[in-house]
């Protein structure tokens, strides 16, 4: 009985499509987070703070209660994630507590209690931690997770781009120091000084200091051009990562579809799983229709 409740609660909080309530819970948490973030922003305006101080205080208190309850329920219900064979109830809990989302949930709520115990604590740190609550929303944003996954599948390419950027910065800063260090010691007197100029030039194309020597001018132009190339490389990698991720998803969906069509008809179980897959990969109905037509054509042949 308790175990069933725990399991149901876990699936609701994890956003499983099995329960309709899970969607309302998601909306409720999102709404509370958004209200909280608005309150933090409004509270920073001195005039509003002076008038509505007590209201914000109340709101903060009840939000912390709400988030504490959420955190507690999550930790408790995740005990049902793994059976006693697969690692016991604390395995799922530990997994959640030390996951990025678990840490966010913790640090977005718990500092409030610290404040109760140590009233002299610097309030600014507390406010910054309150803003962490906005990151709770990322749990419900699957597109954001897609983005991270796409970027992580191209992490090597990003690594090499970052390496190139580092080399470009150090080399251009050093060359500029050698070329202009005597003429403009206040800007290029040492390489660490010139590094600032390099980064400004690479990012914006136009440095904060104008070179006075011919060699310096050439180095500045090359550095700026390198900046354009770096932007192109970074953008290109992201574009390629997204496009590859999309084609992978399409291929996976197509192969599932082919599997479902292999015996000639689509059973209702197969239809459900295809629907879930479509929602997970966020393919439009038009795209799915194209796949089905293609598969039909192949079958006719």
């Amino acid at each position: 009985m308790v175990n069933d409740l725990k399991r149901a609660l876990m699936e609701i909080l994890e956003g499983s499509p099995k329960y309709k309530v899970s969607r309302y819970v998601e909306w409720l948490i999102t709404a509370v987070v958004l209200i909280n973030c608005s309150a933090v922003i409004l509270d920073s305006v001195p005039e509003i703070h002076a008038v509505h101080r007590d209201f914000f205080h109340e709101l903060e208190f009840w939000s912390v209660m709400f988030f504490t309850l959420e955190y507690g329920l999550r930790v408790w219900s995740l005990g049902a994630k793994f059976g006693p064979m697969a690692g016991g109830s604390w395995k799922g809990r530990r997994q959640y507590i030390f996951s990025p989302f678990g840490l966010i949930d913790f640090f977005a709520t718990m500092p409030h209690y610290l404040h109760l115990f140590f009233p002299t604590l610097d309030l600014r740190i507390l406010r910054v931690l309150r803003l962490l609550r906005i990151l709770k929303l990322s749990k419900y944003n699957t597109a954001l997770q897609d983005l991270f996954r796409a970027v992580s599948s191209e992490r090597r390419a990003f690594g090499s781009a970052a390496f190139l950027l580092l080399i470009a910065t150090v080399v251009s800063a050093s060359l500029m120091h050698f070329a202009e260090g005597h003429e403009q010691p206040e800007a290029f007197g040492s390489i660490p000084h010139s590094i600032y100029w390099s980064i400004v030039t690479i990012t914006s194309g136009y440095g904060n200091v104008e070179p006075v020597t011919k060699a310096g001018e050439v180095i500045a132009l090359l550095t700026g051009f390198l900046g354009v190339c770096m932007a192109a490389i970074m953008t290109g990698i992201v574009a390629s990562a997204f496009s590859n991720q999309m084609s992978r998803k399409k291929a996976a969906y197509q192969s599932q579809l082919r599997l479902a069509l292999a015996d000639g008809n689509i059973s209702s179980a197969e239809r459900d799983s295809l629907k879930q897959l479509q929602a997970k990969y966020r393919l439009s109905d038009a795209q799915v229709q194209v796949f089905i037509d293609e598969a039909d054509k192949k079958n006719v042949q």
């Binding site: 996954r149 992580s152 599948s153 191209e154 992490r155 090597r156 390419a157 690594g159 090499s160 781009a161 390496f163 190139l164 080399i167 150090v170 080399v171 800063a173 050093s174 060359l175 120091h177 050698f178 260090g181 007197g189 040492s190 390489i191 660490p192 590094i195 914006s204 194309g205 136009y206 001018e217 132009l221 700026g224 051009f225 900046g227 354009v228 190339c229 932007a231 192109a232 490389i233 953008t235 290109g236 990698i237 574009a239 390629s240 990562a241 496009s243 590859n244 084609s247 992978r248 291929a251 996976a252 192969s255 599932q256 082919r258 599997l259 292999a262």
Partner: protein, 315 residues
């Protein structure tokens, strides 16, 4: 006598072979890994020292230490260079060319040149103490490029770009032509009105490249034609950035797809007989590591191949 010379020769050849393996890093084992980490960290330390040394206060306070460090680094890099040249004699067996073929290949390769130029100027300074120190420092800076030998992702990048070199060269060609055309035009149109900023076509070229890079070339046009030209140049800058981005994106996409296709072929081959042996699994894992593919990618490919086989009615 003859026997002992052959024995000595084969022994020295064995050492040569081993050193080649360690320095080249083609065979991954602990020694070559350690050697790689050592040289890479020495290079990083060198670059840091070059940067710190340029701060006048630090230079006066720790100048001697920096000098000693440079001396030690030069000695190590020299030993590395000599060992590399010597051991590269083993690259080709006697039949495929003499031992100097591998050496020549290394010496005139990009890495060989970097290794040489980043080390040898130090000795020049010993011979000619009056040489300009700034030139010497510039050569020392080349050491940073020694790092790129150990960054396999850089190779990926160059490989991707090389496969699209036609598109890149056409983009560069477009840039060159528009540079010549637009800087001549702005010189003709504005040269009379603003002789101090457009005194010559090369000066106008400077303005053009600045506009392409940053969107504003530091000069405001004074004639209507000049304004039109500046606006067109700025639009060209956006178009050029878009073209470069598109080419890079295509290059990377093509590379990833090529690799996935190669991997998929391998998976198909492995699954052809219905069983996956330990050896085959290891081969697939090595391939995944070499291509830098994520587990998710690999799983998706495996699932796809399995589903296809099921659809065809194979086990």
């Amino acid at each position: 006598m003859t026997i002992s010379t052959t024995a000595v020769r084969s022994r020295s050849q064995h050492i040569q072979r081993r050193i080649f393996e360690i320095l080249d890093g083609a065979v991954v084992d602990r020694a070559s890994k350690a050697c790689e980490i050592f040289i890479a960290s020495l290079v990083v330390a060198n670059v840091l020292v070059i940067i710190l040394e340029s701060v006048p206060e630090l230079h006066t306070a720790y100048g001697t230490y920096f000098h000693i460090f440079d001396l030690i680094s030069v000695i190590i890099f020299s030993i590395e260079y000599v060992l590399r040249v010597w051991s590269c004699g083993q690259k080709y067996a006697q039949e495929a060319g003499s031992s100097w073929r591998g050496r020549k290949e290394y010496i005139f390769s990009a890495f060989g040149m970097v290794d040489f130029l980043s080390t040898v100027p130090f000795y020049l300074q010993l011979l000619f103490p009056g040489a300009d120190l700034r030139v010497l420092r510039m050569f020392r800076l080349l050491r940073i490029f020694k790092l790129s030998r150990y960054n396999s992702a850089m190779d990926d990048m160059f490989e991707a770009i090389k496969s699209e070199k036609d598109s890149f060269s056409s983009a560069m060609f477009l840039l060159l032509i528009s540079c010549l055309l637009f800087s001549s035009l702005i010189y003709i149109i504005e040269g009379h009105d603003q002789p101090e900023v457009f005194p010559s076509i090369p000066a106008a070229m400077h303005w053009f490249i600045l506009t392409i890079i940053s969107g504003w070339g530091n000069v405001d046009p004074v004639t209507y034609l000049g304004v039109a030209l500046v606006v067109v140049t700025q639009i060209l800058a956006i178009a050029l950035a878009a073209i470069l981005t598109g080419v890079v994106a295509t290059a990377y996409t093509a590379q990833v797809q090529r690799r996935e296709a190669v991997y998929e072929m391998e998976v198909r081959e492995v699954l052809a007989d219905g069983v996956v042996t330990e050896e085959e699994r290891q081969k697939l894992q090595q391939m995944q590591a070499k291509f830098g593919m994520t587990d998710e990618q690999v799983e998706a490919i495996a699932e796809q191949v399995k589903a296809e086989r099921l659809a065809r009615g194979e086990p």
